[in-house]
């Protein structure tokens, strides 16, 4: 019985002493933190994607509160959230357009001609140092999915050796565009309904030899909407500062099936596999 009482006393006293010590320490060594930082961090998405350029969401919150970064720095936040943060800090929210990433390439394995068999690390950045993987086209997607592994939001899927961004999942943080060794993932306004899915700078004859999905630079789309499309050299792009609406697909009748909405592109990529399986 004595033993039990003794142990209870010893443990009790130890606990009290340590508790008092912690209480004193907490008072004495307390770090003054701006409470607004926690509040702002709570409003940010919390994915720590790094798209803002700071070390995670709480770091961005600290910088926003300290005025070193604008409230709209987070590329992921919806406009309402930005407004909320700005209102909380008493700042005026600036309007920003929602951006999404897009892989402007139709070079699926079914479409691509292979220049060589690639045997090595299945990572685009490694492959880029070694003949750029196996595909013959040197401008298109390598297809080993480094961007898909980088994406914190699971918005990129590699289908048939081609990375495809799902715009509904993409938040536009831009990490994929950063990591892509060919720098061929573009951040475009989410409002743009169509894209030209080819990134090649080569002569159309040469690029068609390497990829059955390549743009042939016929410029039908440019003729259909001269203001809303742009062409530089052999490369045709949507003019993203004045994007055409989806009706241009009907109007242009792209012979190479390169001018597509993201949904049609995704479907075309998926169908490519089926066609391939059917042939095999």
């Amino acid at each position: 019985m004595d033993t039990i009482i003794l142990s209870v006393i010893v443990v009790g006293i130890t606990g009290m002493v340590l508790g008092a010590f912690i209480a004193v320490a907490a008072k004495k060594f307390a770090v003054e933190l701006d409470p607004r930082i926690d509040e702002v961090a709570g409003m940010l998405p919390g994915a720590n994607c790094g798209g803002c350029g700071f070390a995670g969401c709480s770091d961005l919150a600290k910088n926003i509160v300290e005025g070193k970064a604008p409230a709209g720095r987070c590329p992921v936040c919806a406009a309402e959230t930005v407004e909320k943060i700005a209102a909380y800090l008493g700042q005026a929210a600036e309007k920003k357009e929602k951006m999404v990433a897009v892989v402007l390439c139709s070079g699926t394995l079914s479409n691509s001609k292979m220049a060589a068999g690639y045997n090595g690390v299945l990572d685009c950045r490694s492959a880029n140092l070694l003949n750029g993987g196996g595909k013959a086209c040197r401008f298109g997607c390598i297809g080993f999915g480094t961007c898909a592994r980088t994406c914190k939001f699971g918005a990129i899927e590699v289908i048939d050796g081609l990375a495809v961004v799902h715009p509904e999942l993409c938040v536009g943080c831009g990490q994929c565009a950063e990591i892509c060794p060919r720098k061929m993932i573009k951040l475009v306004p989410a409002a743009a309904p169509v894209h030209v899915y080819c990134n090649s700078l080569e002569k159309p004859v040469l690029r068609r030899k390497k990829c059955a999905g390549a743009c042939i630079s016929c410029r039908k789309c440019v003729k259909a909407e001269p203001e809303k499309m742009s062409s530089q050299g052999f490369m045709v792009r949507v003019n993203y500062s004045n994007a055409p609406d989806a009706s241009i697909v009907e109007k242009a009748q792209c012979p190479a099936k390169c001018l597509l909405t993201p949904e049609e592109h995704l479907k075309a990529v998926r169908d490519g596999i089926k066609k391939n399986e059917g042939a095999a």
């Binding site: 220049a115 060589a116 045997n119 090595g120 690390v121 299945l122 990572d123 950045r125 490694s126 140092l129 070694l130 003949n131 750029g132 040197r138």
Partner: protein, 443 residues
């Protein structure tokens, strides 16, 4: 005067199958003139030269077609007489796109008014000789393609006392340097003497691996005329690597990030030495080199004297083509060479060999996990802890890899050679080095 030079053993290394018997005893063949040469504009480390001719210009053999783009840069010369064609984009040796200029031969192969021979080089000013080496466009022909005139211009505070002529040729299959020493040994030794004069050094070594006894004998006989020591070296890859070679011959260690000149040495390939001789004594710029075309699928492997800009396709045609379809075409040796995706790639100043491998000889890299057998650690000549490093690179922890000395890796390929899991280790380390360099540049 076979020297009693004590040869130190470097750590690690391997002895792969040699494959040199395919070409070592074959006589050197001189490649006939082609109709068209494709000359890559950038053929050396440093600034790319700028083209000084345009399409349609008539050029003579040995005429300058590009001017150096800086101090660490060399001019480029026309391999034959004819007209300048298009500037085209080709896939280069490393697999990256690069610019090349076409030279359409007129079949005359006429020398232009270029460099005057300096037969009396012993009494010529050192700066003039150096200028001549620059004018002749000479770069290191062993592999790195470092401009030779830069190598021969060490800063005055570096006290250079040793010139090492690298005839080790430790890469399996290649015999270009071996043939060069047998057929043009004297030229190499004169070239070495010229380089020694420029550097003002007395101590000149020619290091040759012991698996070339005929070359050692020939060179030793010839060297007695010059003040040059021929030293037989242990047969062990990578005996011909600069740092290992210096260590083996002088016992000096080149510090990480340092150059051979930091320990008073200059290393030069035998082929480069012979080119120095041609430039000075004969007044010929560097427009041709000896290249081994070999491998089991090649019908008639041999060493050739090729003009710079000869596509691999033509080289293979001269060898009678292939007997079986090869799985790999490699520019360079099997340990450090680059696999090519097409056979239009031209031979450049540093192409020591074209190696074809049959499908059954090619072992594929696998993504197998490391089983920590430690064979790479035992064999790595740089003492790197490869299992840890490779895991760090796979996890993309490049900072950590940098702290663990990944930048010391010289990509000799020994780790991947011994790896039973067939891990693509060299590719990992190349990636890590590229990422780290890119990050350093950003800073």
């Amino acid at each position: 005067m076979n020297s009693t030079q004590k040869v130190v053993k470097f750590r690690g290394g391997v002895h792969p199958r040699e494959g040199k018997e395919l070409t070592a005893s074959r006589e050197l063949r001189i490649a006939p003139l082609l109709e068209k040469y494709i000359v890559p504009i950038r053929q050396s480390i440093g600034a790319p030269p700028t083209l000084c001719v345009k399409k349609g210009d008539a050029v003579k053999k040995g005429q300058r077609i590009a001017e150096p783009g800086g101090f660490v840069s060399v001019p480029l010369h026309s391999p034959t007489s004819g007209t300048v064609g298009d500037v085209v984009e080709i896939i280069g040796v490393t697999g990256a796109a690069e610019q090349a200029v076409e030279i359409i031969a007129d079949g005359q192969d006429e020398w232009g008014a270029g460099l005057d021979p300096i037969p009396n080089w012993e009494n010529t000013d050192r700066e003039l000789l150096k200028k001549r080496i620059l004018d002749a466009g000479i770069v290191g022909m062993g592999g790195a393609a470092f401009p030779t005139h830069v190598k021969l211009s060490p800063p005055p505070e570096k006290n250079i006392d040793t010139l090492i002529i690298n005839g080790a040729e430790c890469e399996p299959y290649l015999t270009a340097d071996h043939r060069l020493m047998l057929d043009r040994g004297e030229a190499a030794l004169i070239g070495a003497s010229i380089a020694a004069k420029i550097l003002k050094v007395d101590r000149v070594f020619v290091g040759i691996e012991e698996n070339k006894p005929d070359a050692i004998q020939k060179m030793t006989e010839l060297a007695s005329k010059y003040k040059i020591n021929v030293v037989p070296l242990r047969v062990r890859y990578p005996q011909g690597a600069e740092k290992q070679l210096i260590y083996a011959l002088t016992g000096r260690k080149v510090v990480e990030g340092g150059l051979p000149m930091d320990v008073g040495c200059v290393v030069m390939n035998v082929g480069t030495a012979a080119a120095v001789h041609n430039a000075v004594v004969l007044g010929e710029p560097l427009i041709e080199r000896i290249t081994t075309v070999t491998g089991s699928p090649v019908a008639d492997p041999a060493n050739f004297l090729f003009r710079i800009g000869t596509p691999i396709r033509k080289a293979l045609e001269l060898c009678g083509g292939v007997t079986t379809p090869p799985a790999k075409v490699i520019m360079g040796g099997p340990m450090m060479g680059f696999a090519q995706s097409n056979i239009e790639v031209p031979i450049t100043k540093n192409s020591s060999g074209v190696l074809l491998m049959a499908p059954e000889e090619v072992e594929q890299f696998m993504g197998n996990p490391c089983i920590r057998c430690g064979r790479c650690v035992a064999a790595c000549p740089m003492n790197l802890l490869i299992p840890q490093l490779s895991v760090m690179v796979e996890a993309e922890k490049f900072d950590m890899a940098e702290h663990n000395y990944v930048m010391d890796c010289m990509e000799c390929g020994i780790c991947a050679y011994v790896c039973p899991a067939k891990r693509p280790l060299v590719q990992h380390f190349r990636r890590a080095k590229a990422e780290i360099l890119a990050k350093r540049r950003k800073k």
